[in-house]
């Protein structure tokens, strides 16, 4: 039944959010740390497990797939409630800082992914390596 998929999704989210709040509390930080990430891992593991035991009928999967499909409209609704006026009020500095940090970020992505690549090759060579040296520099 569809509600089984939605319930599984809800349980994973609730657990993740609670864990994220606890992590935030432990670190003395007001933000929820990684709650959504934990929930996603839980969902992926739960679905993998149920599929192996073929307990996850197609109807239940549709419950999850629906919410995945409604994601973009929710993002559009989210962008419709951003405080765009305050953003533009921030004036020249906010505009410059906001855009520059994004452009630099985009340009740095290819380098970061190359670091990852080299590290992996090194790891295969050295059996028990911790974090390869060139990443610490």
């Amino acid at each position: 039944m569809i509600i089984f998929g939605v319930a599984l999704l809800s349980i994973c989210m609730l657990i993740g959010v609670i864990v994220g709040d606890a992590l935030g509390g432990l670190m003395g930080v007001e933000a929820n740390v990684g709650g959504v990430g934990v929930s996603m891992l839980l969902l992926v593991l739960a679905v993998d497990y149920l599929k192996k035991k073929n307990k996850l009928q197609v109807k239940s999967e549709e419950g999850i797939a629906f919410w995945g499909g409604i994601y973009i409209p929710i993002v559009v609704a989210m962008s419709a409630q951003q405080n765009v006026v305050a953003a533009l009020d921030g004036g020249g500095m906010a505009l410059l800082a906001g855009v520059v940090v994004v452009v630099v970020g985009f340009l740095s992505i290819p380098f970061i992914s190359r670091i990852g690549e080299k590290a992996k090759v090194k790891e295969q060579e050295i059996e028990l390596s911790i974090l390869p040296k060139e990443q610490i520099k």
Binding site: A86, V102, I109, P110, G116
Partner: protein
Amino acid sequence: MMNMIKEGLENNGLITAFAIIGIVMYIAYFLSDKLTKGRVHGSAIAIMFGLILAYIGGVNTGGEKGISDIQLFSGIGLMGGGMLRDFAIIATAFGANFSEVKKTGISGITALFFGVFYSFVIGVIIALCFGYRDPVALTTIGGGAVTYIVGPVSGTAIGASSDIIALSIAVGLIKSISVMILTPVFAKKIKLNNPRTAMIYGGVIGTTSGVAAGLAATDVKLVPYGAMTATFYTGLGCLLVPSILFLLTEIIF
């Protein structure tokens, strides 16, 4: 008569939101197809409409919640609020495959730390160019360049004045909005077409709403991977900025 319609829409806020957003999506996908032959993604145009609506809402009501400050559209606040946003992001993980996540592990973590650090540094540099010297102001604006949550959280933690905190939110908002708009533009250039790059992108750029909307406007299948790293970004920023990075700024300035 008008009053009755208005009341009907307001009493069923969330349903009104589903209808309105559905219409906005329809128009956006229609324009994407007719005007740009699909080159500009329909959801990118829809997100642009969302931002325009937010501006209209903000101008009319002077509120902080964009279009949802207008009573008729308050349901959009619920539909696009944190709860349903997270619920839907998690649901997109249903399509993600776990081995991809494990394979990218190390570079995802490297991206996260790099992402928080470089954003902070750029925020501080630009604040300096605009004449800010006080370490508290520099750190708060630097935090704003990380995300529009890290800015105010660090600002309040280190006792920044409210206008500096508002400025840090503005920086974070502009970052998030420009990520939403620029991601599809840069996607080809940075080969944002596979789970691995999406996770690194999520770690470097990090603002959850920006990453989620940017990937949704580029390739929906990548959303869970980017969101996976991005969800740790704000927490990491809230941890590093008011502590280590603030001390560093104080020593230097």
